[in-house]
Symmetry: C2
Subunit: 164 residues, 2 copies
DNA sequence: CGGTATCCCCTAAGATACTG
DNA sequence: CAGTATCTTAGGGGATACCG
């Protein structure tokens, strides 16, 4: 059963106990970490966004998402279901029909996620700019280092040829 | 130079063009995806949270975080710096002194992230409950399946022994 | 002190095949 | 249709060693 979260209870360690940054911990067992991992994984966000619009069947989701493998979609849905963010309803028809919909809890998470998306949209040009600037600096330093290396080589060669 | 983001421009595809869920895309080159990956990686969030309090040096961060390798901390900081979320200042003293601080952009991201953390804290009991319920159901189904399998085995044995 | 370079391992995700 | 089981591969991340 390809386990999801580790079976150990493991609360947020809170070892330093001075304030709540310790709660944003990277160690396993931390709620924040786990939800973040869920939200950030490759497909969950897209599934949540799609289900927020309307109930969808497995195959509909698969078609809509494009690029997701059957395995990953199934896994993603199991995770979301386990966390109570998505509900799964099986209709005993033939062929079988399984519907997924966002729970109320999932809906509130979607609201929260939207603020992150909004932030990203609002700042994407700043980020792009920062990246361009960083890459320019990096390229310049790289070029500098290469010039210096070439210079050292030249000097070394001169010394050697002088010796002969 | 262990590259960060792919060099291809690759905007959010927006192929369907009907509305913005397509923008939350999982394909590479999507801003939302990239920021999400940054936020969600193992250490970035913790670094941002720590730097939001005050400027810190490399070693201070390393001590504070506990568990992070030198390599991963350096990588994380380079990424955050490239995205313009953290600034890096080198003081040409001896021994060298390098200070990291959150930029204004990083600060606004921190605000946004906090709402996600708040959501998590507000709903962790619901999530825990959902998980417990899910695991109970799964365990029950598992037990059922095993009972059924045992039953089939028994019948099969009976049939075979009757045949002899 | 503040890194980068190298090696290596292990897990997460993809491809493929099979089932109720 | 809606999955699970199995195999394989890519890369995230740790340990270690070395450099300015």
């Amino acid at each position: 059963m390809e386990d999801g979260t580790s079976p150990t209870p493991g609360y947020c360690a809170d070892t330093d106990a001075d304030y709540d940054v310790a709660q944003w911990d990277a160690r396993e067992g931390c709620e924040v970490r786990q939800i973040l991992d869920r939200v950030a994984d490759k497909w969950s966000l897209l599934v949540i966004a799609l289900l927020e619009r309307r109930t969808l069947r497995f195959t509909e989701l698969r078609r809509e998402i494009d690029g997701v493998s059957q395995r990953m979609l199934a896994r993603t849905l199991r995770h979301l279901e386990r966390d109570g963010l998505v509900s799964r309803t099986v209709y005993a028809t033939v062929p079988p029909r399984v519907e997924y919909r966002l729970t109320d809890l999932g809906g509130t998470l979607h609201e929260t996620i939207k603020s992150l998306v909004t932030w990203t949209e609002a700042h994407q040009s700043e980020i792009a700019g920062a990246r361009a600037a960083y890459d320019r600096r990096a390229a310049a330093e790289q070029a500098d280092a290469e010039r210096a290396a070439a210079e050292r080589d030249r000097i070394a060669r001169d010394v050697l040829s002088g010796r002969r």
